[in-house]
Symmetry: C2
Subunit: 337 residues, 2 copies
């Protein structure tokens, strides 16, 4: 029998919990540790904290990374923050312990443009230990970048690329509904945007990945955040949004080259969205479009992308990697051919 992949879950929030439950379904993975600083979770069994029906798993959540990383860990699945600066120490600790990493940190999905210096540090640290790390998820990481690049494999020429994602937040978690400003007044929304609370991270990372992958010398990436206003009353499991209140967030990002738009990204996440979908368009030879009707569910898909990426990052050359470098596929639950 093939040796199992020894995994540690770093960060046991809603996404981390979903990742842990999914890892548990893979015969090839053994979860050997978990890390979370939340005092309400420290010392408890990971299976119980993530609400697994087969708990306990006999995996104790530790506050610090040290005990967990001492167990000949192959891969750390990391899910603690959107900001690369906030997680540098965590990532470096894992690399220093000789572990590969897959992280949901949005800024790690393609960090070379926004954080060139930190990218160099991570690449060097990973190479020194002979391991690889990757930031990924559904967005950034898949629908607005990796899937676009994959589609571009049938292009003889690409002049312009776009990715538009419309998410109905009605069926999502309460924290997400709050994070997009659902139920706020426009003024509250603007204040929360200014405070940096309302913002989906990752569009500039997706644009940077596409720019490099498609060979566009993009010299400017701009981003706007506006509210989507509710046109009718919407009631979700958790909250009610009245007509005229904010239903969610509308973000647009553009990558331009000498003032000319080369990459367009639009993300609308709001309660009551009528036609959720992911749509990719490439103009060139040939011009092409691709639609995922209904769209990919953010939480389910992020856990999936992260866990499915484990075999690819373990097989990757040492260093800081991105979705651009790796084949993406499903990770079968049973041992594979």
């Amino acid at each position: 029998m093939t040796k199992k992949i020894r995994a540690v879950q770093f960060g046991v929030g809603p996404i981390g919990a979903s990742i842990a439950r999914l890892m548990r379904q893979k015969a090839m993975i053994e979860i050997v540790g978990a890390i979370d600083k939340d005092p309400a979770k420290v010392g408890r069994d990971l299976g119980e904290v993530v609400g697994a029906p087969d708990a306990p798993w006999r995996v104790v959540i530790s506050a610090k990374s040290q005990p967990a990383l001492e167990k000949s860990v192959d891969i750390v699945v990391h899910s603690t923050s959107s900001y690369l600066t906030s997680v540098m120490d965590q990532l470096k600790e894992c690399l220093a312990a000789g572990c590969c990493i897959v992280s949901t940190c949005e800024e790690l999905a393609y960090p070379w443009k926004k954080h060139p210096e930190l990218s160099k540090q991570l690449d060097a640290a990973a190479k020194e230990e002979g391991v690889a790390l990757l930031g990924t998820g559904v967005n950034p990481g898949f629908v607005m970048d990796k899937l676009v690049l994959t589609l571009s494999a049938v292009s003889q020429r690409v002049d312009w690329a776009s990715a538009v994602r419309i998410v109905d937040a009605s069926k999502r978690r309460l924290p997400l509904q709050k994070k997009i400003g659902a139920g706020m007044t426009p003024e509250e929304f603007r204040a929360q945007v200014a405070a940096g609370v309302i913002k989906h991270h990752g569009l500039p990372e997706s644009i940077a990945m596409l720019a490099d992958g498609l060979g566009f010398a993009v010299d400017d990436i701009s981003e706007t955040i506006d509210p989507v206003m509710a046109e009718e009353d919407v009631k979700t499991e958790f909250l009610q949004v009245m007509r005229g209140q904010v239903a969610g967030v509308h973000q647009i990002a553009r990558g331009t080259m000498g003032g000319k738009e080369k990459i367009f990204m639009e993300l609308k996440m709001y309660v009551g969205a009528k036609s959720p979908s992911d749509t990719i368009e490439l103009k060139g030879e040939p011009s092409l479009s691709l639609v995922i009707p209904g769209g990919t569910h953010g939480d389910v898909a992020t856990a999936a992308v992260v866990v499915n990426a484990i075999p690819a990052i373990l097989a990757a050359p040492a260093g800081l990697r991105s979705g651009r470098d790796l084949p993406f596929s499903f990770f079968p639950p049973t041992a594979n051919t």
Copy 2:
């Protein structure tokens, strides 16, 4: 400046010509040779034979591989036959000369199931020379396998997969319109199927790739070929099909596990197809679909996939590879970051 990729075009039929023209657009590629046994092409300039506006290219087509392969070749782009047994000697010659290969040979797209012994030989020969080879194209190679696996990266569980491709052959080459039986009587069509003339190759290869990638222990792959009958008169640039004649081909392939269908593939290529499209469906958690409205154009896309795969196969570990192992993306025309 980075060293250019030295390429040889092996096979200068319609697809090979399209590949050569596309390679010529890539600043990173220098075409240093071409091989074709057709006496009408041997000794002529490749650029002239492929109808390039900037001909002559000062690349002479040779009948045998030897002179072309002696020029420190990095990559051979191979496009001569659908059958692996027919091209084994050609592939081995290229590998022995230390060249990587990307081939349009349909049976090479995922050869392990149908040709396990030949696959072993190619893998061993490639590893001995430290080079890699890949069979790819739009189908097999992309829309019915690689793109399905890429989509499966957002799946937590996959129970069943399907790929349906509907191609309007009206705007395709005459040889293709003939190859699908357009204008024949049903009897002529059946006779041509029995003679092995009418058949799109690659569905079993796509099923085998999906089976391994999705972890389905598929124990049987079956395939049917039937005519699509014209429901009205159709006139193309090259021929006319009357109502009641054959408009094209309808192939279905299934991968089953203990009698249960796990993978379904349907290909309809006929003149006058009303809604050409590529559609992928995954049942599982979550269930997902993906549509390319209009579909990917076979000839344009095959040349694109093959040329775009060159950087990935040059960077791949030595051996026999498939689309499963490699990241697929666009190959920018100018030197890339």
